[in-house]
Symmetry: D2
Subunit: 342 residues, 4 copies
């Protein structure tokens, strides 16, 4: 049993962490911070937790985070980088669900996130928390940069192709669709029900912050810089990401076998039968990524469909998976919920 | 560990039973029947169960139901009544999620369900499976009639008032709103996405089959025939029932204390603070009923708000709760999932 | 052709006014104000108006409102009351879509709206703009207080019963359900897509601002103070209000005939056949109120179902209807759009 | 004023035709057929038409279609091809909203639609009703094959690029997302609310019937066979198609100017400013196609976003536009509704 803290628990990744950790047999929730809600009972803000989470929000300054074994940052970008140093010094291991430590190049980070990085010297130590790629480094990591939601779905879908060197890596296309919870719990006009419901649109086509993150991961897998067009869209549902990926085949292979072999040992990646159509609800509220391969009309374009729940495998679930790995628990502990369908 | 079978597993209560039972530590799923899908893998129809449920659908005639300890009927109305006798004779205990054994008066049943009852002689033995009312009888029951979704939400909201004799039982009003999954997984025009989405309507105002069921339960509690107007509505969401209940106060009391006392020992009924507004998502995918009391403008009308997930506390979850009681398990076994929010 | 201005055009009632007025053959849109968006093209904010509305938002201080024949206030509560005087003095006729002049009792208004009324002396002159009640006064009005959305649906549903004196007016119940656009276009957490979607809840049960407005209208019709319980709910759709109304019959009559006679000459009230179930989409984007009567189980409770589009008959459409009456146009001018279904 | 008939008026394209034609000043609705609903009032099935459409459905055999000037087929595929001959012989002009006459190669048609073509000899005469391409032929056409919804959005988005010869036509990608009304009003499980809501998925990746139609149109524009990958998706909204199109630039040009020039004279195509993000609701219930161009990161991939309302510009609206052209009316007659937003 480890002691766990959460910094910033009032957003959707925060409440999802609470849902998962409150059911985790090896983790004891000890502290959760919120500047705005200090003193309030967590279950008053999120009645779904009534009777299950007895904590109150604590002001950040008064939170006994140093006494935790693990601390999750479910904060806006730019918060964790100011607080991680002292936690690590106190022996706490940290999983940052925001973007502060995802990009290895601080200049690139500062360009995309529009602020000065407060702890560039810690970036090298941070391990990018995609277990399917970095499981061994995560085991011993003190600081894990939990991947973004789009990057998780897109990388897991592309990786077998990139690693195998069988496709053109200059012209990768990721057409991704996200549920609205991916935009967070901030009060903003464009994510109001009356704006986002019964509506569909692309956004950020000129450049979304997840683009450099995906490009970094795929380039590492390719051993060279990849070319990627990434078009995110907002779709009127709460949870879920559906990534539709396009790659040109350069060398033939049995791609279905390739994918199945790549993910055979992965507990949270499900390679479906060839030509399946995974739907986002088939992973709703679960830590699973389902992937299916298509070869339309037998042409030279491979289509990969990859779905996750953005709040679970795309955020809080993957964070718990990383915690499990870091602390030597069975990787599936607390993550065995069956998806909620319908 | 008991052996469990499901008759009719292709509807929404069926797949919800599968989700709950596959995670139940004391139940082993042994057989699931479907006439139309015999031979097909359950997880091919419901990909959310991939890797979790390995069963195939079996034709009803070939299903080894008699070797089960418990059998759930997740069938259309009128199926269970033809098969229950032989199962009971074989020593199997049965929970019927359909309506066959809910009404004590066979004539009334035949009027509302439009068919001849095939086993009226078994009706007296059947226990109405609302644990908050009939827990003791459920313990030893061979045949449990699992309540309807509306009846669960409405009865739990009205019961403390009726039992206490403090309100006018001649003019009860239940204005109830249901998510569309309550209509089942049949292909019908009025529940198509393009019909039910971005739309709201009442239906069945002239008389809904759940009316006699609610009336029977409330009349039993009152010790006399109650007068009830029940207006169901269809609201564009998948899961959830919200019952808004109106009763005229005849004698003053501290109604909040009354409700809290009535449900203090109930693990699945949550009486919220006075004047709360429970929302359906606060119980999504969980076996909880949340209730809140209001007294608008201090007048003589009490308003009770009662929410459940129609597929869980309104169907499959309550069925598992009944199974737990019948077999002497802790009542919460396999039902401790935290609601999924957002 | 009259010259028309809109104060506050960036909310949902504003853009709906623009949609209707841009298609109105007798109205010429001359000016639209917005403090925050001054200088911006209206069609840049609302691309649905590209090619149809060429105006730019103008700062309130620079808007030539006095040169208009009619000015609509689509502003938050409390704005119109500060500006109406000078407009009336300049000969402009005003329709206020906010609540400033809806309540006849300034003290009551100040209690419910939590601010001092800036122009109580003008309240007596203001005509409550429900044409089905006040058509003659609207004709000559200089200042029309456009009704709220709930009050429109509830009053039109109750009026024939109240006016006829056939029901108990002490125990009226209005259980109303609104789409989320009724909450406006303000950035707030509780109306985010991820909060309001796939969810249903009551709100404001202790007292909603539309309660005194409805009570005032019904009491006027009754000739005495009525007793009303009003419970509003938020339902996951963009447009539409469904009011389910309950009244106890005191004296028998052919209520269907009563309703049909009451609304025979009304172009925007449709009394459907007895026992119909009007759905909100049947009036989507149109200025119609559809009403149906029920008498469940032949008991003494009448149920009236009343649906409107909250942004049309509940706001902008009714405002245009009032303008038509005020300026002597055919009442249906510019309001003949057929509802959009599905 | 022309006399108009509709064959098959109970689906979504049928009711949308009714909405548009009932408001069309030059068209008089004379007859509407339905085998299943013969005798029923149209407005009983679609209450949105109460007071606006007084017709009753007529059995196909008894319908006086020959006396009409124009007849629309809003029928399943395979119906029009059996009836068109006799109507044309009677001097009636026909617009088929189904697929019977869209493909020029009968063998190709039979392959994709799985039935024998009943009137292959009439295919050459049929004009593909995309006014932006075939306006002149439509003018004098007796038989117009109204385009599919996806084909309209995809072709309008790609055409300027293909016609100009500036992009690689071997590797076109169309990632398209449709609202559920595109699947029609048939009772089917996969389009139930509880299946399609809060969910996103691709479908028909192996080959959708609209693929050959799009390929035919683009190949004609290119003067050679194009290579196209077409991936349709189902998104949880009622109306709207969003096509995200990808093309590799072969020769540089000012593509924004190219698009604006191509569609300058088109009343129903709106080329938005460069790098805009059109949303589907900006064309809801209107006959408009909005298009925006992107050049992500200045790379060699052009991204075109194209949105329509699948029931209007993708079906009934385009059919009325074709009728207007055929009968010499102003092309916008009856099609000037402003989109409904929100």
């Amino acid at each position: 049993m480890i002691k766990v803290g959460i910094v910033g628990g009032t957003g959707y990744t925060g409440v999802e962490l609470l849902r998962l950790l409150a059911q985790h047999p090896q983790a004891e929730l000890r502290v959760i911070t919120s500047r705005g809600e200090a003193g309030a009972a967590v279950a008053d803000m999120f009645p779904s937790l009534r009777g299950r989470v007895g904590l109150r929000f604590v002001a950040p300054d008064e939170a006994a985070l140093e006494s935790c074994d693990a601390v999750f940052f479910a904060t806006p970008n730019g918060v964790a980088m100011g607080q991680v140093r002292s936690l690590l010094d106190a022996g706490v291991r940290v999983v940052d669900l925001a973007a502060d430590f995802r990009l290895k190049d601080p200049a690139e980070w500062e360009k995309w996130y529009g602020m000065k990085h407060a702890a560039p010297e810690m970036i090298p130590e941070a391990v990018y928390g995609l277990p399917e790629v970095n499981r061994e480094q995560i085991r011993s990591a003190r600081l894990v940069a939990n991947p973004g939601c789009y990057p998780t779905a897109v990388q897991l879908g592309f990786l077998p192709l990139i690693e195998s060197g069988l496709v053109d890596t200059e012209h990768l296309i990721a057409d991704a669709k996200s549920g609205v919870s991916g935009a967070g719990r901030k009060a903003e006009v464009h994510t109001l029900f009356s704006e986002a419901s019964d509506n569909f649109k692309a956004y950020g086509v000129a450049g979304h912050r997840h683009l450099p993150e995906i490009r970094q991961g795929l380039s590492a897998a390719a051993g060279k810089q990849v070319g990627l067009v990434f078009v995110p869209h907002l779709t009127p549902m709460v949870r879920g990401i559906h990534a539709t990926l396009y790659a040109q085949v350069r060398q033939e292979a049995d791609f279905q076998v390739l994918f199945e072999a790549r993910y055979k040992a992965e507990p949270f990646v499900d390679v479906m039968p060839f030509a399946s159509h995974p739907d986002t609800r088939s992973v709703r509220a679960a830590n699973t990524c389902r992937i299916a391969l298509h070869r339309p009309q037998g042409g030279d374009t491979l289509v990969v469909l990859s779905v996750i729940d953005n709040l679970v495998k795309g955020a809080a679930g993957q964070a718990v998976q990383n915690m499990n790995i870091m602390f030597g628990f069975d990787e599936c502990t607390g993550l065995s919920q069956i998806p909620v369908l319908p």
